[in-house]
Assembly symmetry: C3
Homo-oligomer: 438 residues x 3
Amino acid sequence: LPVTDFEDIDRVGREMHDFARRLWPLPRSISGEGLRATLRAIGERLPGFELFEVPSGSRVLDWIVPDEWWVRAAWIEAPDGRRICDFAVNNLHLVGYSTGVDAILSREELDAHLHSLPGQPEAIPYVTSYYERRWGFCLAHREREALPAGPYRVFIDAGHRAGSITYGECVIPGESEQEVLLSTYCCHPSMANNELSGPVLTAQLGEWLARAPRRLSYRLLFLPEMIGSIAYLARMREHLQRHVIAGFQLTCVGDERAWGFLPSRGGDTLADRAVRHVLQHLDADYTRWCWLDRGSDESNWCAPGVDLPVASVFRSKYGSYPEYHTSLDDLEHVVTPRGLGGSFRALRRIIEILEADVTPRTTVLGEPQLGRRGLYPSLAKKGSTAGVRRLLDLLSYADGKHSLLEIADLLDCPFHELLEIATQLAEKGLLTMHADPR
Amino acid sequence: LPVTDFEDIDRVGREMHDFARRLWPLPRSISGEGLRATLRAIGERLPGFELFEVPSGSRVLDWIVPDEWWVRAAWIEAPDGRRICDFAVNNLHLVGYSTGVDAILSREELDAHLHSLPGQPEAIPYVTSYYERRWGFCLAHREREALPAGPYRVFIDAGHRAGSITYGECVIPGESEQEVLLSTYCCHPSMANNELSGPVLTAQLGEWLARAPRRLSYRLLFLPEMIGSIAYLARMREHLQRHVIAGFQLTCVGDERAWGFLPSRGGDTLADRAVRHVLQHLDADYTRWCWLDRGSDESNWCAPGVDLPVASVFRSKYGSYPEYHTSLDDLEHVVTPRGLGGSFRALRRIIEILEADVTPRTTVLGEPQLGRRGLYPSLAKKGSTAGVRRLLDLLSYADGKHSLLEIADLLDCPFHELLEIATQLAEKGLLTMHADPR
Amino acid sequence: LPVTDFEDIDRVGREMHDFARRLWPLPRSISGEGLRATLRAIGERLPGFELFEVPSGSRVLDWIVPDEWWVRAAWIEAPDGRRICDFAVNNLHLVGYSTGVDAILSREELDAHLHSLPGQPEAIPYVTSYYERRWGFCLAHREREALPAGPYRVFIDAGHRAGSITYGECVIPGESEQEVLLSTYCCHPSMANNELSGPVLTAQLGEWLARAPRRLSYRLLFLPEMIGSIAYLARMREHLQRHVIAGFQLTCVGDERAWGFLPSRGGDTLADRAVRHVLQHLDADYTRWCWLDRGSDESNWCAPGVDLPVASVFRSKYGSYPEYHTSLDDLEHVVTPRGLGGSFRALRRIIEILEADVTPRTTVLGEPQLGRRGLYPSLAKKGSTAGVRRLLDLLSYADGKHSLLEIADLLDCPFHELLEIATQLAEKGLLTMHADPR
């Protein structure tokens, strides 16, 4: 795999941010044309990308796929003729899956259909009603409070029909049938950290992975949240259980405020260990979330009887930052090129571990004579061996029982630095590398 | 089992306190009529209660049952004719198992037979000499210091004879042959926390258990301390080892000052886990005693080769409160109705765990669609799912590998609250319940 | 084994310090006559001590034994005729393994061959160049800075020849073929804590061990560091792997400033547990070093494929005290009789554990009746049983699953005190002792 250095990260971060801007206005939901347009834009970047449709009414595991939602326009006309809550201006204004309506309402009648946040008076909240028919509008609380007496005309040109939900899949094959799962979702309207950062990062990783030969195969999923992973499991559970050695749920990976990790249900899979290692060296104070803090498709990937080794990597996790699920979660103040680029680098390091983690075995008994190989200072004085400590420490654990990742953790050394040393030792004939029995 | 609510606890606490008052004056020891009278009073409350006699001189495991002690009267007559240390006033005045005596002694001769506590000058100490013949009196240090020059007449109408020690047993059968052991002792004279709280609580639990059908069988033992559990093991060890799945040693359970837990020798039996769980939710700062702090029959229940899963629950543990083993350990300042009632509630919760701990298994793959079962809010907005978190968390651990108690600990949720949720889910067909393979 | 009491420790400490003074001036290196003279002086004290020579050029594991180094004289003559850096005054002045030279050099030319420590201007540093031919002198930085302009005459009457390296071995047989390894090194010139304290302690332990019958066999090794343990493993690895049950690397054991422990690579061998136990009771704040802090022959003893259970005991560990590897590491300010004596006592206690650790089993069911054996107070009152707690606690863990050392750790009781109690109980027939299945 080609290694991306730090200068690239800035460029990559800007590319990701640009792509997020392009996806921003598409009116996403768990079904419909906004979702399809988003998936097609992603698919243009990834060879082998495919769209899948799951028909409304399908029974998928315990769930029933809902009708498809379509929407053409939605607004409220105030008594003075001014249009407010216009879906064309911000698609958060319309409660997701609203039914159609065209009616004149009093101020009081209207109010029962409005959603706002008194504690965040400038924010439009994100509200949906997928599985029960209703309609509603979302707006800034400040604007709501200023609404004059009615009457109001409410107009929603939307509806439901037997159609399908849609998801995208891209498999990037490697030498091995062992797979890494990258899962993200594409069903939220115009919000940046939750959720555009997820699909944008996943697409960028896919481009990078497709660029060069690799040991493992990669399966990238772009789903409508919950119903998408349920539908995918209905089709592919046994395949995943046979092949996936590590997986990552990717959302809320676009800001610069924090790092976070939410373990798989098991808690100590290869995926968990790789994330912990990388975050430890990026920011030892990263937030340790626990399984009880979960809130997305990992609930399905790790459910009893599914039990995939899927961990979650976050910057600021959903529910933990003030702009979450409001119009304030944007590409200006929350998600930044640098935040996205940092997440790309973190995932790249995690993937490099999965690609390169092997079990080294020393070829000599006792400490090798490094001096005659030019690896040890010939003049011994106080402090002269500091530079060879990691090399000797690696050799001392190269007993065939510890993988490179385990040794990196024992040495508190970044995996990629230890890999360089291991490679150097292997070239000198002092180490052999073995596939982990794992 | 019928659930007792909190109002009941106050009533139950008063009942227990009243019963303790009734037992208070009976002159208990490890043998004799005071012990028998105490056991008979308990037996009146418990169906199937039986008295057992173990003859003096019997070899029981490593021990020899001592002679039975009888006592009719004991006092000292001061030079002015005043009676002090009168056994009829407080049976702590006489050293337990004292021999008979009728003699005139000088002040100095008498002093060699007196016991008092300089650091607690108002307290009559509790002193016994079961296995060596001597006589003595116990009194408040303040009173001792005021004793004038002699002569004194000492009179003890007491003695030893080939008789027996006595214990009471009550088996309350359930559907299963698996047993819960409740062990307490009845050999201390007029002291409240150590020991009347123990037999009073055990009797109250027995009444409650006998009132309704139950899954497990319960074996209640009312013993003279040490020699009683030794004698019981000599007769019943193999039965106990085959049937007892959890046991509790009950003493010092009557005050309101603290909660405490002393584990079984193994330290992680079902009994230990149930106590830890219940105390955690009653008072997370409960005192964690360790096996080395033990001091009663658990030494025998958990001894090498016996190895019963017996844990101890305390309010203020013996040895840890100032009134311990003195006349100050009374029913006014130390043991209260509320203290006794709280212990009843704690043991009831522990027993409810033993009765109801099963292993739940989810019936669906992936997260179930709670919405179509009316268990999930149809309108999704920030914070709307807080109410269903525990339900989803329980389902996420319902993999057939975790018992309800284990899941309750993982969720930091009181067992009885989780049991309600599990029952609701089982009614909806989302869970099945399985006997723990334990 | 005869127990040495504390008064002895002072005498033993002085003996060790005297012996270190005797060895001080011998010009040690990893080969040569200074090393042989040191080993012979040690050998005089130990019955069965043998010298071994390993010829230059021998392949030993991954290493090649270097040529032997000889040195007769070395000094620098300053322009004023004064001799400085005279090897006869302090053998640290000459870089170890220097080649011969006789030349006139300018001040600048000389400087390229000088070593000093700007941060410790009074200290002569210790420098060697075993595996590359060069020459050099070491001196106090203060002296170096005062050197006038040249010319200087440098004279080193030294050289290398096909010879051998030398080590000493002493096997003290016991009843069992199980062995304890004591490893120390003898290749450093005049420095006290690192290293004379090591061979001096090991010799003293050897004398003590040889004095009385013992259960285990003891193998004492006096080696040139690194190349010595490599050469020894080349000859004896399989024997060691079959017989050694615990081993100790001994250096830096002569000062009074600290206690330290560096575990074997495995970290929880009998050797590790014995050291931890003894240091815990000598000074609970002893320094816990980790495997990554290692820096001597334990690298070979514990290397992958060798895997001997060798732990290190320290006072102030190499690298951690300011005088380390300089002329300041002396017998006046760093190493003291009391420091050496304390280390002797610590190692003696460790060895006593290895000799006496067995698995006790109680012979009775339930707590034994200590009273009828005179082991329990006949008069029971508050606090009367404090004196028998350890005895009862020991019995409560005498289940055949815990060794005495494990029980001592559970009871936080020094092993030798628990051993006394166990012996007393065994005499009363309450315990039997069993060889640990370990």
